[in-house]
Symmetry: C2
Subunit: 236 residues, 2 copies
């Protein structure tokens, strides 16, 4: 997390110290039990240490839309703290480890450490950029391209934190979870994955995503990771 924020704002020793004090309490949650409920107002946010989580919204008819998956290093529930109310739910996909950060501490740290606030604003903007890309994915790409694009994006994000390469990555997502994220039915996801596999692009097996032909897949999905890139600190 420090590395991620540090990529944007060169943090001073003082600021790192403030950041350090934020890490209040380490907690674990089991897969499938919500951390945050839609409509609840939150006292704390979390930073994901290990495992995967997802943020989603439920509709009245029981359908759900997964907005994003969180991987180690990501914030959980930051927006809920800033907006004072959670407009979405968060569920661990696997058992997860997190460090809890109290809402009051966050707000106080921001007020006293402007560059830290800036760094978090950057992190929030990057999150928003990912949601936007996801929106384009669902709105304008067909099921095949959409799925391919999504798997590539996950891979790129995981690679940034050392959990994946162009060869592939470990991925605990079931086809049901993929379906809820992609706005498809689980059955159709299965067919799409078969087509991608038979097209020699990607294979998902036993919790591993393997890129059989990364370059062809990038071209097929029109994948362009500019929005994930960050060359160096903006503020020194």
């Amino acid at each position: 997390m420090v590395r991620k924020l540090g990529a944007f704002v060169a943090l001073s020793g003082d600021e790192l110290c403030v950041l350090d004090k934020l890490h209040k309490r380490r907690r674990t949650f089991v897969a499938g039990r919500d951390l945050v409920h839609q409509g609840q107002s939150d006292e704390s946010a979390y930073i994901l240490v290990s495992g995967w989580a997802c943020s989603y919204k439920l509709l009245q008819d029981g359908q759900r839309q997964i907005v994003d998956f969180q991987i180690p290093g990501d914030f959980l529930g930051l927006r809920s703290v800033v907006l004072q109310i959670s407009d979405h739910s968060i569920e661990p996909v696997t058992d997860i480890e997190v460090t809890e950060v109290m809402a009051t501490d966050i707000l106080e740290a921001f007020a006293n450490t402007p560059r830290l606030a800036m760094a978090v604003l950057w992190a929030a903007s990057r999150d928003e950029a990912m949601v936007v890309e996801h929106l384009v994915d669902i709105g304008r790409r067909n099921a095949d391209q959409r799925t391919a694009h999504f798997l590539l994006e996950l891979g790129a994000r995981l690679a940034l934190v050392g959990l994946g390469t162009k060869a592939g990555y470990a991925c605990p997502l079931t086809q049901y979870l993929l379906a809820d994220a992609l706005g498809l039915s689980a059955i159709h996801v299965n067919r799409v994955l078969r087509k991608l596999r038979e097209g020699g692009m990607v294979t998902i097996r036993d919790g591993f995503v393997t890129f059989d032909n990364y370059d062809r897949m990038v071209e097929f999905a029109e994948f362009d990771p500019v929005y994930l890139d960050q060359v160096g600190p903006l503020l020194r």
Copy 2:
């Protein structure tokens, strides 16, 4: 704009002064000509004074997905400044008036005025919440509910800045623009609007959206505006 930020953080005279100095230059742009191009790196952001704009992404095959419409009081291109590069384009829907704010000034103001940074973080979070709702709209609602929900959301946002009521609002969007925002074809948007009109819910005519039965429409679209609400200042 001041009113909007002030709703979240009670700003001091000093902070208002900084805010005041930010408003560097008033500019106008004509409808249809991009303010910001995808991939360009930006020197300045804008605050929309009058008129409507939209932010969108283009795909290689010429399709586009409109991510959001901006109405008076909204930021334009804030994310581009924070991330140093624009991952999307912005186009005025109508002729617009904006005030330009230089990127360097923004970053400096944030560093010196933490509460201001906090206020902008809040604004960014609210924008993200709207994109998320839009994502759910496209991912999990059928065309009818999706369109209804979208028109209600626009109405609620316009009402917040005094440009609309539960009776309706002035809306310069063509069916083509609606289609690009909703992930539908313009032809289908036309059919959907007819159905909503014949269902006695909403009528669009001559640039005016008229809610024929607001309550029925809210129920039909499962519209819940929590994510737009903000009761009072969080920080005093």
